[in-house]
């Protein structure tokens, strides 16, 4: 239980290129969250960080067979577990 809580602090914006993970929750309400949900990013969604934009922001992830880009700001609202 304790371990889970520690991991919960990990945000998508903190991951590096080629990291794989799974979504465990959101910290924001409102439009960003709605959009992410609409695109099929929900709890349990597996993803891989593909790259960062040349200037470091936004980032690109692969999920359910498609590519999604989002700003670090948006990504910081997504809580994730890193796959080993």
């Amino acid at each position: 239980m304790k371990e889970v809580q520690e991991k919960e602090n990990m945000r998508l914006s903190e991951l590096k290129k080629s990291d794989c993970g799974v979504v465990i929750g959101f910290t924001a309400l409102g439009e960003v969250r709605k959009r992410l949900i609409d695109m099929g990013l929900v709890r349990g969604s597996q993803f891989k960080v593909i790259r960062k934009a040349p200037l470091g922001d936004p980032i690109e992830i692969k999920l359910n067979g498609f590519l999604l880009s989002l700003r670090l700001e948006e990504a910081s609202h997504i809580l994730v577990n890193l796959d080993a």
């Binding site: 929750g25 959101f26 309400l29 409102g30 439009e31 960003v32 969250r33 709605k34 959009r35 992410l36 949900i37 609409d38 695109m39 099929g40 929900v42 709890r43 349990g44 593909i50 790259r51 960062k52 934009a53 040349p54 200037l55 470091g56 922001d57 936004p58 690109e60 359910n64 067979g65 498609f66 590519l67 999604l68 880009s69 989002l70 700003r71 948006e74």
Partner: protein
């Protein structure tokens, strides 16, 4: 002719699902372009006669869900839920089944009749993906028809299915169910809403209940106005609490997780990926085009190429058009005897129409370039690469493309802002486009810079002018976004679609759509404005001046001491003086003199004033107006000096700099302003745009002149 029964069919689905290409295959050239009522979202519809039916297709904007944020998504959703179309076709990208099925589940819970065009089927097969269509039909409870716009397969099958639905009056019965815990609450909630007869007749109350649970703002607004809300609200609050207690999450997430679970289940059960080819074209191309090192240079190269295509290649047809219109004007004026009528027709109307059409080649080429970028999938990448820069100034990555287009001409740049989804982002971008120096300003810069700066540094000065403009644009964006246009901007959550080769047919149709839009929307306004400006610079004519110069010219002709050559040169100079005086006497001329007190603090006199006013008609006219005015010299020797030398003799350097600043910033030409007004849609925006550019131009020119 006998009236055919009409069947209305909506095309809906995710963005990048090949919806528009399929629409083109369905309707061919029988299309109509316009705007959806009340918004600047393009509406494309087309009718086709098939087996004694008239089938009317409406191509809806692509959306990921039936929740709506942007005007485009709103339009699509309102059409789907409110419009009583006979059938909805969901265009489903078969190379991305799982996410596309998410949209299907929403159609299922809506309870409307729909069929699925299992699109881009050829690419799916090529990739080695196999799908069990029959099983998919069973799970979704509706027809699934494999289609490919490229191979033109599945088109007749779609038509036949539409007819079958209509003739047999088929009703879909398969429902999408949530888990018991949620389902029973939704049903009870919709039971409460059902007591409002008006609502239950025009909407699915089940769907309204789902949307209430999702906290959909529009549905909330709709329900709040009804008396039934008194009963709905307490129950809604109660079940919201129950659901979030039970699931430890908000209802909107739970609902979508269930939809996605269904989509995943259907996907797993029907799709076989064991033969999936591992080599992925998109991954390779992305690796080459948007990596850390190449990303920005490639972006700049594509922008440069677009610019070259639109303005360099566009120059040829623009020139041909201009020649054609000059020729036409000449031909017509030689056949009209009345001087007055001749002038109105040739200089007013024909040059006005010519002015409208002159932009057409650029617009066609720009939208070809944009359609190629959008169609291949690069557009989203361009926004991805440059977003950081734009976001620093409060803009969206896509704004960069409009701004760069503005360096050629503001008119297509204003039109290109349609790719921005948020109205705030779009208006902000439109307000700052004028600061991107358009092509017509270049001759003015060259004239002034050439007059006041040595050739060695002229290039540097010109570059500095352009840079000042870009900097001003970005800073103004920041200013606007932190003041008037403040508020949550569009979140940057964007799909990077797979790279695809757009079909030439679809590119041509999109180009044609934009051209029709331009001609429909702007043409009359631009034409009217051009004619008015022409009238103002030609009228009233002073009879006195005319008589005086006629007399003078007659004197020259009768003078026996002059050679023929001397006579020609004297007459030429006299009629130039006459033109200049007549121009000064015209409405615009008088206006220029009238505003002198206002522009004096900027270091300008009435001559510059007149030129700047004509610049409102078209920026390059600033140069020709100055030439006309300065054709009156104080002495004969000065008459022979070039315009640049005259300017240098008449004004100090700080006036030149102040003038450069003013031309850079002040309001774009009347044609661009007309386009702005049409695109922005409200008079208050146009008023602000005028006020903003004029005030900033005055202030910065004032500072330039006074501080130097």
């Amino acid at each position: 002719m006998k009236e055919l029964p009409v069947i209305e069919v909506l095309l809906a689905g995710n963005p990048n699902s090949g919806k528009t290409s399929l629409f083109n295959e369905l309707v061919g050239a029988n299309r109509k372009v316009g705007n959806f009522a009340g918004v600047t979202v393009e509406k494309v519809e087309g009718s086709v006669v098939y087996k004694n039916y008239l089938i009317r297709f409406v191509d809806l904007p692509g959306t990921y869900s039936l929740s709506a944020y942007s005007p485009e998504e709103m339009v699509a959703r309102n059409y789907i839920i409110g419009h009583s179309a006979d059938l909805i076709i969901q265009v489903l990208d078969s190379t991305n089944i799982e996410r596309n099925l998410l949209f299907t589940t929403q159609l299922m819970e809506l309870g409307k009749n729909f069929i699925i065009a299992f699109n881009i089927y050829d690419e799916m097969t090529r990739k080695g993906i196999k799908a069990d269509i029959t099983q998919l039909e069973k799970l979704l409870g509706t027809a699934v028809i494999p289609t490919s716009s490229r191979l033109k397969t599945g088109i007749t099958e779609l038509f036949d299915k539409i007819i079958e639905f209509y003739e047999k009056k088929l009703q879909l019965s398969k429902k999408f169910n949530y888990p018991e815990f949620i389902e029973e609450r939704i049903i009870k909630l919709s039971g409460i809403i059902n007591s409002d007869k008006e609502l239950s007749e025009s909407y699915s109350t089940y769907w309204l209940s789902v949307k209430l649970l999702e906290q959909d703002t529009e549905v909330y607004k709709l329900l709040k106005e009804r008396t039934v809300w008194m009963k709905v609200f307490p129950y809604l609050t109660e079940i919201n609490k129950e659901i979030s207690n039970y699931y430890k999450e908000e209802a909107d997430l739970i609902l979508n997780e269930n939809r996605l679970a269904f989509a995943k289940g259907a996907f797993k059960e029907t799709v076989n990926l064991s033969n999936l080819k591992s080599r992925n074209f998109t991954d390779v191309l992305d690796y080459l085009l948007i990596n850390r090192i190449t990303g920005i240079p490639v972006f700049l190269f594509f922008m440069w190429a677009t610019f070259q295509l639109v303005f360099q290649l566009g120059e040829y047809p623009v020139n041909w058009l201009q020649h054609a219109f000059d020729w036409l004007a000449e031909g017509i004026s030689s056949s009209i005897n009345n001087e007055m009528v001749k002038s109105v027709v040739a200089d007013g109307i024909i040059s006005g129409v010519g002015g409208v059409l002159a932009f057409l080649p650029n617009i066609l080429l720009l939208f070809l370039a944009l359609a190629i970028m959008e169609g291949t999938g690069y557009m989203a990448r361009a926004a991805f690469v440059i977003d950081k820069v734009m976001h620093t100034f409060g803009l969206h990555g896509k704004s960069a493309i409009s701004l760069i287009t503005g360096l050629g001409c503001s008119i297509p740049a204003f039109m290109s802002t349609r790719t921005l989804k948020s109205q705030r982002d779009r208006l902000t971008t439109m307000f700052i486009i004028p600061f991107m120096s358009c092509g017509a300003k270049l001759p003015v810069y060259i004239l002034i810079i050439g007059a006041f700066f040595p050739a060695k540094i002229a290039g540097t000065v010109l570059f500095a002018v352009y840079m000042t403009g870009i900097l001003l644009a970005l800073l103004s964006a920041k200013l606007l976004k932190t003041t008037l246009m403040r508020g949550e901007s569009e979140p940057f959550v964007m799909e990077l679609p797979p790279y695809r080769l757009p079909s030439p047919k679809s590119l041509l149709f999109q180009m044609w759509n934009k051209a029709t839009m331009y001609l429909k929307k702007a043409a009359t306004l631009i034409l009217l404005a051009s004619v008015l400006v022409w009238l103002a610079s030609n009228f009233p004519k002073s009879h006195k001046i005319e008589l005086f110069y006629n007399y003078e010219i007659q004197q020259v002709i009768n003078n026996e001491h002059l050679t023929n050559q001397e006579k020609t040169s004297l007459i030429k100079s006299l009629s130039a003086k006459e033109n200049s005086l007549q121009f000064q006497n015209s409405i615009i001329g008088r206006l220029g003199k009238l505003i002198e007190p206002v522009i004096k603090p900027l270091g300008f006199d009435w001559r510059i004033g007149i030129s700047l006013i004509t610049g409102f008609a078209a920026k390059e006219l600033v140069v020709s107006s100055m030439a006309t005015i300065y054709s009156i010299g104080d002495s004969d020797t000065e008459n022979n000096l070039s315009l640049q030398q005259k300017l240098k003799n008449n004004y100090p350097l700080k006036t030149a700099l102040s003038l450069l600043m003013f031309v850079l910033i002040y309001v774009p030409c009347v044609a661009a302003t007309a386009m702005f007004h049409k695109e922005a849609g409200k008079i208050k925006y146009t008023a602000f745009y005028f006020f903003f550019t004029m005030t900033l131009a005055w202030l910065l020119s004032f500072l330039t002149y006074q501080l130097l």
